[in-house]
Symmetry: C2
Subunit: 426 residues, 2 copies
């Protein structure tokens, strides 16, 4: 029973998790696979660094070629993160015919096409389950298990940091800055949280999921992005009053006018499976033309959940090598579908306005909506002194119309501010 040699690029949190899982479940994995997996080389920047795991010092190298050119390495695991030098190393590994497993969403979202071409050139496998939604095997599910379906939509809570922040704001009534600080102290948010809270991390992931679901390459620039910094405790309170929770969603949907790909906060009806996904958990909700609604839930980040996805891919790659069946599943972006601009989408909208509390105000506001064919589904008015807070939920309408109505609102002398606009996912 020959072992399959593994080379790991990077020994940060995910790399360490992969090594730990491969060691801890070594015999179980060997029995399931029919072949042991053997880590033969790990690329690190500093061989002397303390990492909290015991490993043979000769496993470590600072020389990429010692991994990428070692004939004993059949599978290269890229867990360095970032674009370069990860991109170069992955391409080189593929050019040597080695299968590659990566956890790198930046790399896949930006260079996916180039990497798949590299894989196709030598017939090597390229797997990237861990790049989206951590331990949830949504790439495999979309690419393989649901392959009989036309996928109609994918809606995900795919950033744990923002879900933690929104859950805490919702549970405790606390404001964004306070909860962000606490999340940073607990290690749930980075010192520089921009990528998470501005929605860019989720944008990379929904670009990857949309590409798989709709068989067309969706680039990061195709994704419309809004983060959660604008969400106030009062929005969460009003949403609850209306029967919703606020979540940061990645949404990918196929419509007759093209595909929609976007990341933004949204009101989700209580009772929808996604509404109950709280804390750092992730979930991906899909609708297929045969399977109907499904949802896949789990931890979207962290050392061991991410390692679970990486090791699952390693096992798949090793199985293919053992059966001499590599490149059984390559790039699946064989179509070219247009992406709709955000102004062309249709949605319901939640608006929170501050207005002067005087007779006839609501009539003027309702007029601005009516002039733009926006009809209202719900209104809440709370008065505090001379200023009233007015919360409105629209029926389904084209975003361009909503924006035109908001422009008109802003010109009304009775409207002090349009304090927030949040889409409603019905």
């Amino acid at each position: 029973m020959n072992s399959v040699g593994i080379g790991i690029l990077g020994l940060g949190t995910v790399g360490r998790g992969v090594y730990r899982v491969l060691q801890k479940n070594r015999e179980l994995i060997a029995a399931r696979l029919g072949t042991p997996l053997e880590v033969v080389k790990i690329l690190v920047r500093d061989t002397g660094k303390e990492r909290g795991i015991t490993l043979l010092p000769e496993l470590l190298t600072t020389d990429p070629a010692a991994v990428l050119e070692d004939p004993g390495v059949s599978i290269v695991v890229e867990v360095m993160g970032g674009i370069e030098p990860a991109r170069r190393y992955v391409l080189e590994a593929l050019s040597h015919g080695k299968s590659v497993v990566t956890a790198n969403k930046d790399l896949m979202a930006v260079c996916g096409q180039e990497l798949f071409a590299g894989a196709a050139a030598t017939g090597a496998d390229l797997f990237f389950e861990a790049s989206v939604a951590g331990g949830i095997p949504v790439v495999k599910i979309l690419k393989e298990a649901l392959a009989g379906n036309r996928i109609l939509e994918v809606i995900g809570i795919i950033n744990g940091t923002t879900n933690y922040i929104l859950s805490k704001m919702s549970d405790e009534g606390a404001d964004f800055d306070t909860v962000l600080r606490e999340a940073q102290e607990r290690g749930y948010a980075e010192a520089d949280p921009a990528s998470d809270i501005e929605g860019l991390d989720a944008a990379r992931k929904i670009a990857i999921l949309a590409s798989i679901a709709f068989n067309t390459r969706v680039m990061l620039d195709d994704v419309y992005v809004e983060g959660i910094t604008k969400i106030r405790p009062e929005d969460i309170k009003y949403a609850r009053e209306l029967g919703y929770v606020i979540k940061l969603l990645g949404i990918a949907r196929e419509t007759p006018g093209g595909i929609e790909v976007r990341v933004h906060p949204a009101l989700v009806r209580c009772g929808h499976p996604l509404a109950a996904v709280s804390d750092v958990f992730n979930a991906v909700f899909t609708r297929g033309d045969a399977v109907g609604e499904t949802m896949f839930y789990g931890r979207g980040a962290g050392e061991l959940p991410t390692a679970s996805a990486v090791v699952g891919d390693i096992i798949a790659a090793a199985r293919n090598i053992r059966c001499n069946a590599r490149r059984i599943l390559g790039c699946t972006c064989f179509e070219r579908k247009p992406v709709r601009p955000i102004t062309a989408i249709e949605s319901c909208y939640y608006l929170r306005l501050r207005v002067i509390d005087r007779p006839g105000v609501l009539a003027g506001i309702a007029g601005a909506f009516g002039n733009n064919s926006v009809s209202l589904a719900a209104v809440i008015q709370k008065t505090t002194g001379v200023v009233a807070e007015l919360v409105l939920v629209t029926h389904r309408v084209r975003e361009a119309n909503l924006r035109a109505a908001v422009e008109e609102l802003r010109c009304l002398p009775t409207v002090e501010t349009v304090a927030n606009i949040i889409r409603v996912e019905e």
Copy 2:
């Protein structure tokens, strides 16, 4: 681009769904797979029967050999249900080197080992995703995506009929018989509902899931089974008062003393992901040593959701044939683990008693628990005339101790009846 020939055994609900999905998504599937799939023969009992789909009459045959021996058939899809003649046909297809996709839980739960041996003999593939949890790809997830994990537990809502009944009882306060009748009228329950409501359908599915999760063959007889006929509206009401909902669960758990495999109603804490799974939906919650908690949610039955799983398997089988890589994943039951008897498990328990309402009653009851090392976590007492209803929830205790305590309770003159005992999944 040569097509891959498909033969279908049976054209009931699932068979019709499979045919429909293969026709409707024909081009999409061909593009994803790189090869078209072609249904070349369908075995039916009566070629003249009206089935609500249009198909070429020459596709239909009443002769099994026309499917099983046709060299143009590479993949045989068994959607007849029942043990015989399905078992015989599947074995014959495998003996001809044809890959088999089955949706048949009875067959897999009872004859899995024999069928896998048949597959191994010729190197053919045997897939059975649709046999458990309909459209939810839990077999693929457990066998492949989570293969790096030691699976610690699998807890599933894997019978849609009973979940529908319990959800309705919970929402409407209606009693079991009323809701069952309504479910039968709506087609959610069979005319003979025994297999569903007695838990036998779920038992087959948890036996299959446990076999995969723990890599050991679990037979139907290994599964401890209780159905839902004993659940009364008042149990649901008390459970809610205590913060729980009642669900029929399939539970498979690995413990140091062996594996536990059981189907029974259970109180599930509100807020647990499984608690929100209602109506006919299914969900499978798993805990792996790396991935942590995950849950997979969707439709567990029905023409198209089940067809989604079958077609996913057909595509996987076709891909393997095309890459000459069949039997990439065979039987995974390579261990032999003992199954613990139900009296050896540990659980918390909900008990509903009718007692004579007189001073000292609770002391006597508490004594019976204390004598058997059962400690109490919660007590509710409601008095109606001379008889009081007493609801108790125990702390975690060995089932043998709980049973001994209940025996003592039954002998107390103050205890009129032990009206119900339901396990609590914490």
